[in-house]
Symmetry: C2
Subunit: 252 residues, 2 copies
Amino acid sequence: MTNVNQQEGGDEGSPSPGTSSHFEPQCGSCNLREICLPVGLPEEELAQLDRVVSQRRKVPQGQCLFRSGDRFAALYAVRSGFFKASTHLIETREQISGFSMAGELLGLDGISTGNHQLDVTALEDSEVCVIPYDQLEAVSRDAPGLQRQVHRVMSREIVREQGVMMLLGGMRAEERIAAFLLNLARRLQARGYSGRTMVLRMTREETGNYLGMTIETVSRTLSKMQAAGLVRLDKREVEILEPDRLVALLQR
Amino acid sequence: MTNVNQQEGGDEGSPSPGTSSHFEPQCGSCNLREICLPVGLPEEELAQLDRVVSQRRKVPQGQCLFRSGDRFAALYAVRSGFFKASTHLIETREQISGFSMAGELLGLDGISTGNHQLDVTALEDSEVCVIPYDQLEAVSRDAPGLQRQVHRVMSREIVREQGVMMLLGGMRAEERIAAFLLNLARRLQARGYSGRTMVLRMTREETGNYLGMTIETVSRTLSKMQAAGLVRLDKREVEILEPDRLVALLQR
DNA sequence: CGCAGAGTTGAGGCGCTTCAAGAGCGGTGG
DNA sequence: CCACCGCTCTTGAAGCGCCTCAACTCTGCG
């Protein structure tokens, strides 16, 4: 869950929120290479990607990676930690549109207009790899696999959001929570965690906002699931006791 | 609104639903060039795009442009007509994720896995320009503007969906309908229509599904808005009488 | 004319929100 | 040390918004 190179505050001289640092590029040997952008890239394109990904940036808990309105310059691959993405399309009303963990790409919202449209905030101390967009664009001209990979990731994001819409559009509280937990578990499992036990990095309020329900309903629904023996709860720790019955909740 | 070449069954041996036809490429002189992919492309890249977009396809009302599971081979630019896109992520439950009109791009959902994840259905007799994806990829290697444009369109789609999520996540019936009508009006206006009067191409059921509410609530909410003098209704025809008050509904 | 599909309208009930109170926990300072 | 505060979370009770069920209208069509 934490990082590989230097633990916290290794080098000083930070720009804006978060610390940037150069590092030896190594997408090819990164432990996230099977999940992140490098997936399936041939050796020579990996090397080209390495040339682009030359910087990392730390984002302490509570800090923004970027805010709505910020000039868009780079995509970010989550290296460690956990983020939330939210819109304020209408002032005074926040809508969380997703949560991101290691290996996932952030910043795609900025390409369209050249300015970011989302706020992205670290929910725990996190680190990202910086992928300057113009360099990525230039490099991927000679790296068809990489170009295609970028398209794939964007397309996946579009499809992911379809799922969220389905969740928000058609499901009741219990189904939403079930879908939410199963989704997190699946993603964690893909990253080598158990997929049975997990720690929610978001507050109940953030969960509720994301799922389109109030904090009280989140709490009640989770309690009810625990009473039914579906999960075991300990504050933000969740253990999925009966995944099959959770899945069954969605099949209705 | 109908077609250019031959009306239905002109040439036999058509592939799947819909008639395909070759045509003189002319993105540069298409009346949608300011809305569609060509936006802002230099002359020489336009020519390259023309080489890729060499086919049109008609899709009669009620027919699918593609279905979930279909092999992904091309993107489609809507030339005329109106489409709905829907998921069946969980069998038996449909969720409409969007409606598309002239100049908008369809098929982005297929890039991620190589198979489409959505059903896209024509809600009226429609026509699309076919953009074979591998050719687009190849061509955009030498056409940085085009490459960037594709990215932009995908990013815009991602951002668009954020808005829908906000709508589904946080709004009540009246706000959803208001947002829905204003969004349609804005898009029609961008295409040269009045933006005051429009004909809804979708049924109340489809509207409700998209907005995450029942057909009855859609109907009641529209009636209430009419009673309040916000809109005038005549079946599927909607006239927006007081846009400002509709906007105000969202500001809450 | 009768029928099917789309839409409207009404009545009642349920699920979620709202409002409110209190518990649990970490941090701070006397 | 514990009292106190702020924050998160839980739980209960009441109300309302939307859903469900049902009846009816309207339109197009054979």
